[in-house]
Amino acid sequence: MPTRVLVPSGVLGLGFDRTALARGVAMRPDIIAIDGGSTDSGPFSLGAGQSKYARAATKSEWRDLMLARAEAGVPLVIGTAGTCGADATVDWMFDITAELARELGQTLRVARLYSSQTADTVTRALGEGRIIPLTPAPEISPETLASMTNIVALAGAEQIQAAIDTGAEIIIAGRTTDTATIAALPLARGDHAGAAWHGAKIAECGALCSTNPTSGVIVVDFDDSGFTVEAMHETALCTPHSVSAHMLYENTDPFILYEPGGHLDVTRARYTALDARRVRVEGSEWVAGRYTVKLEGARIAGYQTTIMAILRGAHYAAHARDWVAKLATFLTDTISRRMGLAPDSYSLDFRLIGVDGALGPLENRTGHPVEVGVLGIVTAPTQGIAAEIGKLINPFVLHYPLTEDEELPTFAFPYSPATTDRGALYEFALNHVMDLSDPMQAFRLTVTEVGA
């Protein structure tokens, strides 16, 4: 049965064009699906179990989508709620939804799909040989799993279908693959499986597959032989090039995409312009395989304190590398003498902004910067130790001379205090998949009525 999916944007919190959304709703979609997250911004969101987007931005956009849902009379689903899709951010999104339901006078059944995994669950699976490393995978053990603050499994289409089957008007899903919320309904209705996953991949970043990426809103029509994609903003055109090029984006392999239960192969996909706005895609293939779900996990890798100084003197800017090498050696010795800390029990890393700040040892250009920013990053086992090291090195970062026979320099500190305690540093600690005998084995579903 043909299925029309409305995708308001690539992620909730980044904005979409309201007129384009209204146009999408007027096209009578069968479901509205939006992504709520990704690992794009790093491990903090998953580690801390927090959304990276402001609650106000999320609420304002979700309000528009809840109104669009009421008008369209179809389910509204968000995947990877609250950036990381941990249970805590699913509940955060649920609170926003309940608050909006009251404000809008809507009475709703809300399904929550939880994706968090306990260390015990994953440890048991590890013992049963059901955890398979991807490349490159960090080493894992029961101890490292127990040290993770959050572990999530990426749900696929089956878990979203189970949520849809509850009859809920709104589905707030924890971690899912980027494509699962879009592919779920077309697959459930028997549309072409390769097309369902391929169309979902094309649409998951919203209008990024069109000539006006920031306009957000996309409509995809799925059927038994392929899919058709159209952007809703008047100036956003989907062309065979803009659509097919999207398979390159954030994919290591532009032809193969692994999902729970198999993989998508678009090697033989054909992209045809139906008119100036719409592209038809056929020939994508779904290859069924084992039912595995990808795991993501994060843990605390230490606590950080940073310090920033700016070298403006021409002599120091020109010799920043030599200066920082000497300074680092001196500080390592000072920290050892005064705090009794061995160099391997903490790290002190200086980044030279204006020299090689972004690329480090890979940088192959040299120049003559007007000034050099020196960003010192201390990572230690506790915030107390990191802060203490920060205070200890502070006067030397301010005054350390390049040579012994010169007057004591004073560099620029941009603020007081010069050190900033950053809190926990989280790190991604899993790049594995978990084999499941039943798709719902690792996921939980609850339905709650909210509103007036």
């Binding site: 690992t39 991807l134 490159p136 984006y249 994919n251 972004a358 480090g360 991604f428 790049n431």
Partner: protein, 103 residues
């Protein structure tokens, strides 16, 4: 035809890079035309790209995509995204090295 080497960025439409998950960076070279693609393709060696990013050549994935006039490289990150030693959370600055590489 000139045999002088030129920065790759001056011969193609765009070079971009981005994380593909926390463990990989992927670099897309949009040549823009089939002529530019055909011209760059034989002169862009995977071994040079591997050296540029200090990565063993056998770990570099390469995709030549004539339909899009695109050459794509995927490289395992030398440091995992967001770890203490990471300098570029989104991996988007990596593209500049390839953009500036003489080809």
């Amino acid at each position: 035809m000139s045999t002088q080497k030129q920065p790759l960025g001056q011969q193609v439409l765009k070079v971009r890079s981005k994380n593909a998950g926390p463990f990989w960076v992927t670099i897309d070279i949009f040549c823009g035309t089939s002529e530019a693609y055909a011209s760059v393709l034989p002169r862009l060696h995977t071994s040079d790209v591997a050296r540029l990013y200090a990565t063993p050549e056998q770990l570099v994935k390469r995709f030549d995509i004539p339909d899009l006039h695109v050459i794509k490289f995927s490289i395992p990150r030398p440091v995992v995204q967001g770890s203490a030693a990471d300098r570029d959370m989104h991996g988007a600055q990596w593209a500049h090295l390839l953009d500036e590489m003489a080809v």
